[in-house]
């Protein structure tokens, strides 16, 4: 077992004819993901990497039974791409595109409320269930099937930590990049709720960073509700206040959202925190073996 994506995932790629869309379609297929359709309005009838292209997500879902969408379109088309997939009845949308205005996420979140559909991202590197399926841009070769769940607000830092976990002789159940924006579809706690019921996940690593108070809320949730061991890493201990550190959501405003505060709350709630990415993997290994 694993969460969110697996062998039953039937993927439609929005923006499949673009440079990133077509390249990563090839990579996802190589990993074993069943990519059943692509969408680029006006290019229906084409094929990319052997995958049929449709003019709309609606057509793609009707023809291929796609249940998951991944979005590679440029930022200014990404908002409407999300709505299109929600309307077409897709159950999971992974938005790789970044640069979406925050207020649009406020609206999308409200629109999603009574629908049977989950959004991951935007600005997400994607999701990998090791040995099952890969949706997004995470490099497949660093993963190994195992029992550690990983949830992260960033991209390459996730690779770094996953790589350490693999090199420590462990493996991953599912790894989710939830995205670095201030408002995102799926948060740490949403993922933990799924991991709680996943028999294959024995421990979870939460990779957070400066900005907001998602990590603090997560820590309190873990202390109250989550039975499996949780490990943490927080990036941005040396980040100055009031400066956006790349991610739109990675900003310390005033004195709130600092790494020190997040580390403190993690520890207070029983989450073991690694000082470095390498140390996180060692902590997990020590506990699981």
């Amino acid at each position: 077992m694993s969460i969110l994506v697996d062998k039953n995932t039937r993927l439609v790629v929005q923006g499949i004819t673009g440079r990133d869309g077509s390249f990563h379609t090839g990579q996802m297929i190589k990993y074993g993901t069943s990519v059943v359709a692509g969408v680029t309005p006006g290019k229906g009838g084409m094929k990319v990497e052997g995958v049929p292209v449709f003019n709309s997500v609606d057509d793609a879902v009707k023809e291929t039974d796609a249940n998951t969408a991944v979005i590679f379109v440029p930022a200014k088309f990404a908002v409407s791409a999300i709505y299109e997939s929600i309307d077409a009845g897709v159950k999971l949308i992974v938005c790789i595109a970044e640069g979406l205005p925050t207020i649009e996420l406020v609206k999308i979140t409200a629109f999603l409320k009574d629908k049977d559909c989950r959004l991951v991202g935007p600005n997400s590197p994607g999701i990998v269930s090791a040995g099952e399926a890969k949706v997004g841009i995470l490099p497949g070769h660093i993963f190994k099937k195992g029992n550690v769940g990983v949830i992260s607000r960033s991209g390459t830092l996730t690779y770094e930590i996953v790589d350490h976990i693999t090199k420590a002789g462990l493996g991953q159940s599912t790894c989710i990049g939830i995205g670095g924006d201030p408002i995102i579809g799926t948060k740490f706690i949403d993922c933990l709720e799924l991991f709680a019921n996943d028999d294959d996940t024995e421990a979870v690593v939460v990779v957070g960073e400066i900005g907001g108070r998602d990590e603090q809320d997560t820590a309190e949730y873990v202390q109250k509700n989550f039975k499996k061991p949780v490990f943490g890493f927080i990036a941005g201990k040396t980040a100055p206040a009031d400066k956006r550190m790349g991610h739109a959501g990675a900003i310390i405003s005033g004195s709130s959202g600092t790494a020190a505060e997040k580390v403190r709350v993690f520890k207070e709630c029983g989450i073991k925190v690694g000082e470095t990415p390498a140390e996180v993997a060692l902590l997990v290994k020590k506990t699981l073996s």
């Binding site: 925050t102 409200a110 841009i137 991209g155 390459t156 996730t158 550190m245 790349g246 004195s255």
Partner: protein
């Protein structure tokens, strides 16, 4: 993106939010002319992108012509938290009966737009939220229908007992919300919102920050950017599609991805070094981008060692390697370069760089340690 108070007030005016009679000036003689027009006493306010202007002496009330001249000279030649004051706002002096706080942000946890009101004006709202959270009154807007009139009235009635003032406040609240949404703001504050001696509401100060992700659809806001008051290197980085923030250390970091870039700075510090900067070259980086990154990094004269930490995914290590080679040729780089390149095409990268005189690192830890060692 931040704008100055005078720019924020121009936007307020467009939305019908009352502001004092004011004029932005850049020279002492302009200040004198403005004060003559607005009458004495008048307020001279420094226009810089930092808080705490008042405490730093950047806001003065001038009662005489002599004082106008003196304060204008003083403020226009001062620095506040390292930023030179190049503009001031000259404002009519308002007789204040009471002060309050009115603000709006997108609440990350609730995933909704929230209006915040506090009966104390001129406060640092995050400070209040920490110490006296019960004194902040919050009203959430419905994302799909907006801020309904009765919700705006709740704010007005919370702040003011006099219904006439409360409803005027509700009107300002609705206008502020409309502006916030239409302009893709990330923060808007009227702090303080004051009741004058004659019972009118007026936005004495104004602050608006804009969502960087919304700027693409608001060229008119991008045009308000005060390039002189932003860090030159950060601006240059933005134009090259890089993300850069200067710090005070001497180990220059070049990394792909924001999270890893922060973790790299932290790691340098963890092993006893001092990072010189945050620098994210982003995904799918071309050799040119790497060259631009090094150019920006080296404008900081404190940089004594350069540490590349690349985990290739979309980013190809051979692209980074070619960028390093080109930059070494063109920029006459004297500082030693420690390179940790792993992931996509790392073998090709090693091949490209084998004669380049770099110091290679096996891992992130190894790279940080080697960079620190070189400084000894």
């Amino acid at each position: 993106m931040k704008v100055h108070e005078y720019q924020a007030k121009e936007i307020f005016k467009k939305y019908g939010i009352p502001t004092p009679k004011e004029k932005m000036c850049q020279r002492v003689d302009e200040v004198i002319a403005a004060s003559a027009e607005l009458g004495l006493p008048c307020v001279i306010k420094a226009q810089v992108h930092v808080g705490g202007r008042g405490k730093a002496g950047g806001i003065k009330i001038a009662k005489t012509e002599q004082e106008v001249k003196e304060y204008a000279k003083q403020i226009l030649s001062m620095e506040i938290k390292g930023l030179p004051v190049k503009k001031v706002l000259v404002s009519e002096a308002i007789a204040i009966a009471s002060e309050a706080y009115l603000g709006i942000i997108n609440d990350r946890t609730a995933k909704k737009t929230v209006m915040m009101a506090c009966k104390e004006g001129g406060v640092e709202i995050e400070e209040v939220a920490r110490k006296k959270p019960e004194s902040i009154f919050k009203v959430y807007a419905d994302p799909l229908v907006g801020l309904l009139p009765h919700k705006a009235r709740q704010i007005g009635l919370f702040l003011y007992d006099d219904p006439k003032i409360a409803f005027a406040c509700a009107d300002i609240t609705s206008k502020l919300y409309k502006m916030f949404i239409e302009m893709d703001s990330s923060l808007a504050e009227i702090n303080p919102l004051v009741v004058t001696n004659s019972g009118e509401l007026i936005a004495l100060d104004a602050k608006i920050n804009f969502d960087d992700n919304g700027l693409q659809r608001h060229p008119e806001i991008e045009a308000m950017r005060d390039r002189e008051s932003e860090d030159e290197n950060e601006l240059m980085a933005r134009e090259c599609d890089l993300s850069y923030v200067k710090l005070d250390g001497n180990i220059g970091c070049v990394v792909n991805g924001a999270g890893l870039a922060m973790a790299t700075m932290d790691l340098v510090k963890h092993f006893g070094g001092e990072p010189a900067n945050f620098l994210d070259i982003g995904g799918s980086s071309s050799p040119q981008k790497v060259k631009n990154a090094l150019e920006i990094l080296l404008r900081d004269k404190n940089v004594q060692v350069i540490f590349f930490n690349i985990f290739g995914g979309i980013t190809r290590c051979d692209d980074v390697a070619n960028g390093i080679l080109e930059a070494k040729k063109e920029l006459n780089i004297k500082q030693p370069i420690v390179a940790r390149l792993t992931g996509t095409n790392e073998d090709k990268a090693m091949e490209i760089l084998k004669e380049a005189g770099l110091i290679f690192a096996e891992s992130m830890d190894d790279g940080a340690k080697k960079a620190i060692e070189l400084l000894k």
